[in-house]
Amino acid sequence: MSPNILLLVLVALTALGWFVGRAKARALYTGKGSLHSLPAHHATHLALWILIPALAGWLIWSIVSPGLVHSAIMLDPAAATLPAMEMERDSIISEAFQLASDPAATAFNPAAEGLVEPIRAATMKFNLIGAALVALLAFAGGAFAYTRIKANFPARTRVERAVMGALLVASLMAILTTIGIIASLLFETGLFFSKVSALDFLTGLHWSPQDGTGPEVSKTYGAVPLFWGTIFIGAIIAMIVAIPLGLMSAIFLTQYASARVRTWMKPMLEILAGIPTVVYGYFAALTVAPMVRDLAEKLGMENPSTESALAAGLVMGIMIIPFVSSMADDSIAAVPSAMRDGSLAMGATKSETIKKVLVPAALPGIVAGVMLAISRAIGETMIVVMAAGAAANLSANPFASMTTVTYQIVQLLTGDQEFDSAKTLSAFALGLVLFVVTLVLNIIALRVVKRFREAYE
């Protein structure tokens, strides 16, 4: 029986149980106040008792049954001819499993052919047992709940307890995700540092990852050029573009523009924020990078590369503008209007008020916004993958090709490497550094914003 049919049967049983439960509860109704809960609550209670035990049983069975199938096959006479070497045997068995599930596949090992029939039989048998178990649990749960439908049974309380459980589980997902990120990054990074020294990784100046272990290999994992490239592109070039443009756009929109201009311009800025990064990356590589190269040639550079830190940084800066502008917008709006009115009343012009009163008062919020923008820029992947280049250079020349942490993560993980090679694992170490840096930036920024809001409330 395929899982789809089983699921369908289970859903049908649940629905059936719901109607049966409601009918029984309705029959108990003798007048106002005769039932503790509504018939629909009794019905839901019954349906939950059918569904939850059955699904739980199914889950447990699907964890247990592969082991049972495996041991059943090992007892089969066809398996007696298999080689005793565990590795060889396992590869034949996994090939046979592939054959059993997909008749079109071809086996490399003739021994696998003989196993196909036993595997099919065993899988069939255990699937049937599983289905029977699920059905049994559904009926048992349903019967138990059915007997409990009485006039004074508090079905509503029980159902609501189940709802609260579901709510709690959903809100724990966020913690689980965070734990999952931290655990998987830490685990893989731990494996990486067992092969490569952490000191070499964090302070080495030479990046050209090689597989293997030992001090020579360890020397090839110096990540400082990557950190520098990331900071240079994301935190320096992009911010030189984004901070003035974003801040001035916000000032213009909030202080000078008429209401009509504002209603048109704000959505336009939001469109800029909604364009996928892969589009920016394509644009950077196709249009901006050649321009930057031509510029470099005019400045007298010899043989400038098409991929440059400047092209990636410029486009990234444009991408960040709406972000900086909306953060600046919020913090300027949070400055009490009494401060602004006071300054204007003293005879200051609008621009003087903005420069000497509003911006200094909003500065903590703006700084926090810039920190969030930096954390966004250094985590940005597609623009640098498409426009920044692969060479790990430690230079301050914006026309040079430069690489970043995110670029290297993509580079290291998209090949066909083994999962536990040092090269693959180093991507997780880079990921951990990126995660920690963005986390710290975010936490500080959120703190600053919070304190800033409190100061004016």
């Binding site: 965070t178 000078y256 003087e352 995660f435």
Partner: protein, 297 residues
């Protein structure tokens, strides 16, 4: 000139005032130019894409799948992959996000646990997307052994990324429903769960949907996490289900942009136009919903 007001009429003062007004105008012009540069860039980008791509959009392009021949390559395969991935993302992140938002806003007791949930949701919303890709690779593919390149894994990874967005939007929408609604429901005998699910949630739904659409639009344009879980396969037939290898629209753009054959430039730009059309439509729907159903209490 003995009038005390006359200090304002001295030449020095007039010049000073003139300077101040000039600097006022300069500042205003700088603001206008800053705004204009962003807008010009947007227009430049759209015009470039239109000029290169609009000729490539025809029925064969919209209904075909990836091919090594630029003339035969189309986006239906990648588009279907995107649809399946978004389906998985929506099916997981919407219920989870809404339930979590309801719990945190309506039922959560004051406890350190709940504080941790809030901190992690706020931080997850700001974690770089590539980190979610690393999580998907380590947990879903290597640990749970799910198929690579499949919309199922892509959708699950993007769901983890979208959920915090939905939770934050959902909490704001629920917070905006006035307490009098809850009180009225409780006063006529509803249980807290009934008050929330029958009254508060329907009123908050437009706000939640707006947040969901914006989160989904972001997920639709996302490339980096899918690159991590291997959704960059060359797929010449549209995927049949959520476990088949497939590509997605942004990934198709990325793959085509890497092609040496310059005929793919037109394809890439055309695919970008299709993707942008979708994103702008989704955002338009979100803005429409917000304006139409927004209630000021």
């Amino acid at each position: 000139m003995n009038n005390p007001l006359s200090v304002w009429q001295t030449p020095a003062m007039t010049a000073r005032l003139k300077g101040r007004y000039a600097s006022e105008r300069r500042f205003r012009a700088i603001g206008f130019i800053a705004m204009g540069i962003s807008m010009l860039f947007l227009v430049f980008l759209l015009v470039t894409m239109l000029a290169q791509g609009v000729g490539g959009i025809d029925w064969a392009f919209l209904s075909g799948s990836d091919s090594t021949e630029p003339a035969n390559a189309g986006i239906w395969g990648a588009f279907k992959g995107s649809l399946l991935t978004m389906g998985v993302t929506l099916a997981l992140s919407f219920p989870m996000g809404v339930l979590a938002a309801v719990y945190l806003e309506e039922f959560a007791p004051k406890s350190p646990w709940v504080d941790w949930v809030e901190v992690s949701i706020n931080n997850l919303a700001a974690v770089p997307s590539i980190i979610f890709g690393l999580l998907g690779l380590a947990v879903f593919i290597n640990w749970m052994g799910m198929p690579r390149s499949a919309p199922l894994v892509g959708g699950m990874t993007l769901a983890l990324m979208t959920m915090p967005v939905i939770v934050i939007a959902g909490r704001n929408a629920i917070k905006a429903v006035p307490p009098s609604i809850r009180d009225a429901a409780l006063a006529v005998g509803a249980s807290p769960v009934q008050a929330v699910f029958h009254h508060v949630l329907p009123l908050a739904l437009p706000g939640i949907l707006t947040g969901t659409i914006i989160g989904m639009a972001r997920a639709l344009g996302e490339t980096a996490p899918l690159l991590m879980i291997g959704m960059r396969a060359f797929v010449s037939t549209p995927p049949g289900g959520i476990t088949d290898p497939s590509s997605v629209l942004p990934m198709q753009i990325f793959l085509w942009s890497d092609e040496v054959d310059s005929a793919f430039v037109q394809n890439t730009s055309a695919a970008i136009l299709v993707l942008l059309a979708f994103l702008i439509t989704m955002n338009g729907i979100a803005i429409y919903l917000r304006n139409k159903f927004e209630t000021r209490w």
